[in-house]
């Protein structure tokens, strides 16, 4: 409570407010505290190998949430509830393209994101041109994709990752770090540059802050919005390929577990659901935080109900800092 009061009143406590205003810093501090706590509870929790394993899991969520971050920054209640289904779709198609052959890796890496990008464009058309609220459009689309998955797979799980691809993602690739982390680093750099340094990125913030003003400065608002949903689909599909590589095989609902966490990672990273504010570094920190939190709850060897209750309660505490709406003014 006091922390959020500080964010509102920047003049009285400039340093504290600046720190609290960088959600990724706060999230990373919490991560360090959690790691220390985990180490105290179960020695070895914060060992380098263990941290690496956690980061690999966080990378999946972080990459899947990259497009979600942009959709949310783009505003007008932007949200993509179809990412879970898109991940499943990406994993299924990639598994069938690769089917255990190293020669097909490149093909899957290109075709799958393009395919889910196009499905995402359909979301964007519904939102930008038919003016269907994003929540409704993407929820409906998730149902369609899930139906499409049954058709594509004929109800039977099929396809598997190529050994070369899984090896690259999971085993030490360079300086002892697995390839997955380099992929995430690349995504983070590209996202950071695109959002902060390109005209596209600036326009995403502009339409999220004030769509009318953005339109007057000549931004093609509708096309931008279509593109944002396309990118969200593309990132989710790419994430699906990585999920396949990480686990080796896929099943029809493999992506469901990423749907709501992708939104939570964005929000606890300090990106406002009302649009126009935030960034991808926050999402990176949010994804790491969620992953470490889940892992610590597993380490505690709590029964399932205790894990869920603590996880939900912790989310609420984190939301106290960043997930709040403005007070109504008289």
């Amino acid at each position: 409570m006091s922390a959020s009061a500080e964010t509102r009143d920047a003049r009285t406590a400039p340093l504290a407010s600046r720190v609290v205003r960088s959600p990724h810093v706060v999230a990373l501090v919490i991560v360090v505290v959690l790691l220390a706590l985990g180490e105290a509870l179960s020695p070895g929790f914060a060992s380098p190998q263990q941290i690496m394993a956690l980061l690999v899991v966080a990378a999946l969520l972080g990459i899947i949430a990259a497009g979600q971050t942009m959709v949310i920054i783009g505003g007008r209640e932007g949200i993509d509830l179809s990412v879970g289904a898109m991940v499943s779709l990406g994993a299924l198609i990639a598994g069938n393209i690769m089917d255990g052959q190293n020669a097909a890796i490149a093909q899957a890496l290109v075709l799958v994101p393009v395919a889910t990008f196009m499905v995402g464009l359909l979301n964007g058309v519904g939102v930008a041109f038919l003016r269907i609220p994003p929540l409704v459009m993407t929820l409906g689309m998730a149902g369609v994709i899930q139906g499409g998955l049954v058709v594509l797979s004929r109800g039977v799980p099929s396809g598997r990752s190529a050994p070369g691809f899984s090896g690259f993602l999971n085993d030490a690739f360079l300086f002892g770090l697995p390839g997955m982390l380099y992929v995430w680093l690349l995504v983070t750099i590209v996202m950071g540059l695109v959002l902060a340094r390109t005209r596209f990125g600036l326009r995403v913030y502009a339409i999220g802050t004030n769509e009318q003003a953005a339109r007057l400065t000549g931004a093609p608002v509708r096309l931008l919005r279509v593109l944002l949903f396309g990118l969200s689909g593309g990132f989710a599909g790419f994430g699906g390929v990585l999920v396949l590589g990480y686990t080796g095989t896929s099943f029809i609902s493999v992506g469901d577990q990423y749907m709501l966490p992708s939104i939570i990672a964005v929000v606890i990273g300090g990106t406002a659901l009302s649009g126009g504010r935030g960034g991808y570094l926050g999402t990176v920190a949010g994804a790491i935080l969620l992953t470490v939190l889940q892992s610590i709850l597993i380490t505690l060897a709590l029964p399932e109900f205790g894990r869920q209750m603590i996880f939900g309660a912790t989310l609420l505490v984190l939301l106290l800092f960043y997930g709040r709406e403005r007070r109504l003014q008289a």
Partner: protein, 325 residues
């Protein structure tokens, strides 16, 4: 058909302003097609069974409507259903199957639902959490409590309880009576001053606040109503399955939102109504029925269902916008 007279035109234009008209048209068409594919649908017994399948969704969609009208959303309704379901079954087994025990367990279940709703309302309206993420977080906590109450599906509802629910009263099924009672509540509630203020809170929150409406209190009350209806939903579900399952409500959360939007209520708040949501819920069940009886190949069933729902959702949104003008 002759051209509508002046009175007819007035009726038509007032109908066009009703947000649930599209859902009603879709309902009539679906019902007709369903009746052609499955002529037995017109038999009272089969109709009652179909309604019984739809009743949980109807009730939960009514509660969700009030939250959405107030400009919020409740993603925890499914978890509340699960929690009330397992709590009631546990209490049934503790308190025996006498009338007092049964009624006591039912009352406790409703109270749990309302308490969850009030907690959601406080999180959203007082602590100012964003509704989507906040109710998702409370949903996890509530689902955790449900698992604590009953870790695995099991338990048993007393025979008189589910027999009564499946049975009839004055020659008409109990589920029909419950539906009629829910409809009566919705219609009466729509005329209350609280309801009008709730619409204002959702449609013009800033203005509502400035004109002195208790915005915070009304948002909490809307969530409490949602919790109440989630509790009622759980009572019906418990009677239908005659047992407890900590995951029984999960699928209902997103379905309730779908039913509300299908029924012509705008997610932005302030426009729509629970009658539409009731029709929307039945439409969802009829779509599933239709696909089952159309004997489509198994693999394409889910895809066809998804496409129909997306199309009707889009139509519902366009219709709501027209009504809002």
């Amino acid at each position: 058909m002759s051209r509508p007279a002046v009175g007819g035109a007035a009726v038509l234009s007032s109908l066009r302003r009703q947000t649930w008209v599209l859902a009603a048209i879709v309902f009539v068409v679906l019902f007709a097609v369903n009746a052609i594919l499955q002529p037995r649908l017109l038999e009272p017994a089969v109709m009652t069974t179909t309604l019984q399948t739809a009743l949980p969704l109807i009730l939960i969609a009514i509660g969700q409507t009030y939250v959405v009208l107030a400009g919020d959303i409740d993603l925890s309704v499914g978890s509340i259903v699960s929690l009330v379901n397992v709590s009631v079954v546990t209490l049934f087994m503790a308190w025996g199957d006498g009338p007092l025990g049964i009624l006591g367990a039912m009352a406790a279940g409703i109270a749990i639902g309302v308490a969850c709703g009030v907690a959601n309302g406080i999180a959203v309206a007082v602590l100012r959490f964003q509704p989507i993420v906040a109710t998702f977080a409370t949903a996890i906590v509530i689902a955790g409590i449900a698992l604590w109450v009953l870790p695995q599906a099991g338990g048993q509802a007393p025979t008189p309880y589910w027999r009564t629910y499946m049975g009839g009263l004055a020659g008409i099924g109990v589920v029909v009576w419950i539906t009629l009672a829910a409809l009566a509540f919705v219609l009466v509630f729509q005329r209350s001053r609280f309801y009008a203020q709730l619409m204002a809170v959702g449609g013009q929150r800033q203005a509502a606040y400035q004109s002195g409406l208790p915005v915070m209190g009304h948002r909490i009350r809307a969530y409490a109503l949602s919790g109440l209806f989630a509790g009622l939903t759980a009572l019906c579900l418990t009677a239908e399955t005659a047992s407890g399952d900590p995951l029984s409500g999960q699928a209902l959360t997103l379905q309730s939102v779908t039913a509300v939007v299908l029924g012509g209520t705008a997610l932005a708040g302030g426009i729509g109504g629970a009658v539409g949501s009731m029709i929307g819920a039945v439409v969802l069940i009829l779509i599933r029925n239709l696909i089952f009886f159309a004997r489509l190949p198994f693999e394409v069933q889910a895809l066809v269902e998804g496409l129909i729902i997306l199309a009707v959702l889009a139509g519902g949104v366009l219709m709501t916008r027209r009504a809002a003008r």
